[in-house]
């Protein structure tokens, strides 16, 4: 028997305190296999021990919610007897070590979460953060970008699920910790959701998919007393994805789910066989007993410890009804998959692992799942906050508005992401009705009139300056984006990316974000149905910006009413919904033009946001709008330019009223007063604003509808002509050929790669 000493515990990431809890829960000292099992189940990743008490603050219920957090994915009712099943998850750490495989396996993992719910996955989206594309970290960043994008493409394209869009931002804060968050959306029968549970004593438990290897055994547990030095060398650091295997699993599982032979299923993601075995038992109020000798193995001589902790990809655990084994095996045979019977459901609420009959682990499910430690970690408001919020614009010399706009359009965060999404098959399954890059993602739901809109958003810079408000803005932006597609937002999923929670400053950011998110979700009536927390995103003590990424799903009742960001024709009226306050704090303008990450992020009035979102839905469903695009990164100037880009050259001529400086009356003091009003108007990032285009005959109806909804609306100009002409208070501040501006925006990202090639 292995001697358990403090060093071994430390390598397993367990504190002496946690070890005492294990001994108490078992009533004895654990075996090495049991120690490994506890270490992964009680890890931050699986147990949410630092975040759980705060996540409870999020609203998770609503009339449409069919499945909230706790299962493999959340689900909302979308009508016609169908459910939208969706979740977002991170694969940050592996993507930094090995960008291609890290990102690819992130895609594979989230797809499994969706189809295990009984849903056919129909769309993928992602939210990515990288370091700067140039400068000292530029070369590494570009390599990471190429690898991550190719990995996402390689997996999604092969399995045949369209990657319909997403968002990408570049900030030095992510140079040592890129973020790869992937969202998957699927469609299931509303009354046919499958659970990750095992019940019915004596029901067989099957293992299907790739063989188990030594890959992905958690870093913290890599070197234990039972390993010798040679075995450590054999262990690859990152898992390798096999999208073809997953395609077979997907089709076979969906075929199996159309029968009623299945009791429950869970994929083996983080913590592999360990997590699926104990969670399925716990959810079903039963136990699972397996013998590792039946587990298909890629390598010889694997110990029970290794088999239980392996994170080899593309593996599923299923509980099926006794007596239906032949039917189940026939389906997997058809897809050339081997379903191995590894154990059965028991009635004693234990997770029991045998090796050739000998019990090597015997743990009550409740000990692993319910009695996992929960920490209320100390929080402290970081000292940096006050320093960075101070912003003195009077010391800056702004460039001409035209030059500033060009600089912003060339910024990789704002520039066209065509270089990226062209590598993603975003059309397969013929549902994509808003092509990638043209607005929120939107997919029709075949055999219904409906479509679903999707957006993922998050602004780490805002959250760095004010985590609470930044989180609220992330949800508001995602909801606004799906509303711009003509959808009613019905549910959200979140991925919370942070540094080390054991640092009170990071924990403070986390709590602020969760509370801000909860408040915004409540105000906008959008429940969170699941998600993921990724902590410890730090390198050399430098944490990433606190980065909550929010994915919102919306329902478009009539797919024909879907909207994109671009103008449809010349001669339409351009209407600005919402009010600008010249808020430059935390803006892309300050960062790109003045190299400043400072100030207060834009204020958010959730009542106004709610009214705007409702108005957009009503106007879209009444066929009043030709296009809709929200103002976010880069402000109104960038928004207007993007409305004209990729239209084949439909320009615009607008006159913007100068932004009112309402900040003067705020406690925070004047932000942009005394600064160029044109710059503040063009590039301020005030929230709750959308640029829409309408046919002239529909203008009055729209304005009346806006007035009724209490949403400020101003006709600012007209579409058409070959130029982008923008005035502020009557003075022309930008006047250029659309094509010239578009060229800068369209080619900026590929120029970073071209410049450094050869």
């Amino acid at each position: 028997m292995t001697h358990i000493d403090p060093a071994l515990l430390e390598r397993h990431g367990l504190s002496p305190d946690e070890y005492e809890r294990i001994v108490a829960a078992l009533g004895r000292a654990p075996s090495i296999t049991e120690l490994g099992i506890f270490s992964v189940m009680w890890s931050e990743h699986c147990s949410y021990k630092s975040s759980r008490i705060h996540l409870r603050k999020l609203p998770t219920t609503g009339p449409r919610v069919l499945q909230g957090p706790g299962e493999n994915a959340g689900a909302v009712d979308i009508g016609d007897g169908l459910a939208a099943v969706f979740k977002i998850e991170s694969h940050n750490h592996p993507s930094f070590i090995e960008p291609y495989q890290g990102a690819a396996t992130g895609v594979g993992g989230i797809i499994r979460d969706i189809f295990t719910m009984g849903a056919r996955p129909i769309a993928l989206m992602n939210s990515l953060r990288f370091g700067a594309m140039d400068g000292p970290e530029g070369a590494r960043t570009r390599r990471t970008v190429e690898g991550v994008v190719a990995g996402i493409a390689g997996y999604g394209n092969s399995i045949g699920i369209p990657t319909i869009g997403g968002e990408i931002a570049f900030e030095p804060a992510y140079a040592g910790n890129p973020l790869v968050n992937v969202l998957c959306l699927g469609i299931a029968p509303a009354d046919g959701l499958v659970k990750g549970q095992a019940s019915g004593v004596g029901n067989p438990v099957y293992y299907v998919g790739s063989k188990t290897g030594r890959d992905g055994i958690h870093g913290a547990t890599m070197a234990s007393a039972e390993f010798d030095e040679n075995s450590a060398e054999k262990r690859p650091a990152v898992q390798v994805g096999d999208p073809f295997m997953e395609k077979l699993l997907l089709e076979a599982c969906l075929e199996l789910m159309r029968t009623d032979a299945l009791v429950g299923v869970q994929d083996m993601g983080a913590a592999g066989l360990t997590c699926s075995t104990c969670e399925m038992g716990a959810r079903g109020g039963s136990g699972i007993e397996i013998d590792v000798m039946h587990v298909p193995q890629r390598e010889s001589g694997m110990t029970p410890y290794e088999i239980m902790l392996s994170e080899s990809q593309e593996r599923m655990l299923l509980a099926v009804k006794k007596g239906r084994e032949a039917e189940v095996e026939r389906i997997f045979d058809k897809w050339d998959l081997h379903a191995a019977r590894v154990g059965e459901v028991t009635g004693d609420n234990y997770m029991r692992v045998r090796d050739h009959g000998i019990v090597v682990a015997e743990i009550p499910n409740s000990a692993l799942v319910d009695e996992a430690p929960v920490y209320n970690r100390p929080t402290a408001r970081p000292a940096y906050i006050d320093e960075v919020r101070a912003l003195d614009l009077s010391r800056l010399t702004p460039p001409s508005p035209s030059d500033a706009l060009l600089a912003l359009l060339a910024s990789p965060t704002i520039a066209s992401k065509r270089w990226v999404y062209r590598q993603y098959d975003h059309m397969v399954r013929t549902n994509t009705i808003v092509l990638a890059g043209m607005g929120a993602g939107a997919v029709r739901v075949k055999e219904t009139k409906r479509a679903l809109a999707l957006s993922v958003d998050g602004n780490g810079r805002y959250c760095y300056l004010d985590p609470r408000r930044g989180a609220m803005l992330a949800l508001a932006e995602a909801a606004r984006n799906v509303a711009c597609a003509g959808a009613l937002p019905v549910g959200a999923t979140n991925c919370l990316n942070f540094g080390n929670p054991e640092r009170p400053e990071i924990m403070w950011q986390f709590v602020e974000v969760v509370e801000g998110l909860a408040e915004a979700c409540r105000a906008l009536d959008i429940p969170i149905t699941g998600g993921n927390v990724s902590l410890y995103n730090e390198t050399d003590g430098a944490a990433i910006y606190p980065t909550p990424v929010v994915g919102v799903v919306g329902v478009i009742e009539d797919a024909r009413h879907v909207l994109s960001r671009v103008f449809r024709a010349g001669g339409d009226d351009i209407v600005l919904l919402g009010t600008g306050f010249g808020e430059l704090g935390g803006s892309e303008y300050l960062k790109v033009v003045h190299d400043l990450v400072r100030g207060e992020p834009p204020a958010l009035d959730l009542g106004r946001e709610r009214a705007l979102i409702a108005l957009l839905g009503r106007a879209a469903s009444g066929s009043l709008l030709c296009s809709a695009h929200d103002a976010s990164d880069g402000g109104l100037a960038v928004t207007l330019a993007e409305c004209a880009f990729e239209t084949g050259g439909i320009g615009l001529d607008v006159d913007l009223p100068p932004d009112r400086d309402l900040r003067a009356s705020r406690e925070a003091g004047p932000v942009s007063r005394g600064f160029s009003p044109a710059i503040a108007t063009l590039f301020g990032e005030s929230a709750s604003r959308v640029v829409v285009s309408v046919r002239p005959q529909d203008r009055a109806t729209l304005l009346q509808m806006a007035a009724d909804a209490g949403v400020p609306a101003a006709v600012i100009g007209r579409t058409g002509g070959p130029r982008l002409t923008v005035r502020v208070g009557g003075d022309v501040v930008v006047d250029a050929a659309v094509g010239q501006m578009e060229q800068v925006w369209a080619t900026a990202i590929e120029r970073y790669f071209a410049r450094h090639a050869a």
Binding site: K334, R422, Y424, T430, I433
Partner: protein, 238 residues
């Protein structure tokens, strides 16, 4: 009613799209045929859909050609039945020797998914009979290995016998290097066999059958085969 049999290999992923186009857009009969089967279920038209058959491991289409169903497909083609290979289906037809040439990795080594323009070069195939010569179709591509290659003599014979059915072009129908998305020789996007009943192309016409998807230009391939079968009489195999 014309019956489309859509062959499903493990890893096919545009099978549902071809099915949807044939059945729901065109209103014809459509049926999936699993690759382990040896009969085509009385097909009038056979479609080898896009995807990553067998994960595209080893080489695109290289394993799929050994599937039992491929003997039936070859038999059907020999008897003059119309066969359409789309993307991976085109690659499989090349591997199976039903069409000449091979697809290399795209010139820039990257996967491309985007709408491109292709020009209809020949209208005497069952899949282009309703198109006009020189007609420009806006159709998406989605591939990493669509760079058509054939030996010079093969290429010359393709050209001289008028077997290049589609070529990449710009919006005005000009075949230029800039309009060639993957480096294909002679801008080749699709070809046919000597008998002209087997057509393979890299672009995805089944993704361009409905306006809301961005283009309905692909419909003409399916309408062509329906009308050519209606006028010549369907070839029913067992």
């Amino acid at each position: 009613m014309i019956k489309f049999s859509i062959v499903v290999f493990p890893g096919s992923n545009c099978d549902h799209d071809a099915y949807h186009a044939a059945k729901h857009v065109l209103g014809q009969e459509a049926e999936f045929v699993w690759h382990k089967e040896t009969s085509l279920h009385g097909a009038d038209v056979v479609v080898l859909p896009g995807g990553f058959s067998h994960g595209d491991y080893l080489r695109t289409g290289a394993i799929a050609r050994f599937s039992p169903v491929m003997s039936a497909v070859a038999e059907f083609a020999r008897a003059g039945g119309p066969v359409l290979g789309i993307c991976n289906g085109f690659q499989i037809l090349c591997e199976a020797g039903l069409l000449p040439g091979a697809m290399l990795r795209n010139r820039d080594l990257k996967f491309h998914c985007e709408h491109v323009s292709i020009r209809v070069e020949q209208t005497d195939t069952p899949f282009t009979s309703r198109a006009s010569r020189g007609q420009v179709l806006r159709i998406p591509i989605a591939h990493g290995e669509g760079n058509y290659y054939a030996e010079p003599d093969v290429l010359a014979s393709l050209e001289s016998s008028g077997r290049v059915v589609f070529r990449y072009c710009d919006a005005r129908g000009q075949v230029t290097e800039a309009a060639n998305p993957n480096g294909s020789l002679h801008g080749i996007a699709g070809i046919c066999n000597e008998r002209r009943n087997v057509v393979g192309l890299m672009p995805h016409p089944e993704r361009a059958c409905e306006r809301p998807l961005g283009s309905a230009d692909g419909l003409v391939l399916f309408e062509s085969v329906v009308s050519s079968l209606a006028s010549h009489g369907a070839l029913r195999t067992a």
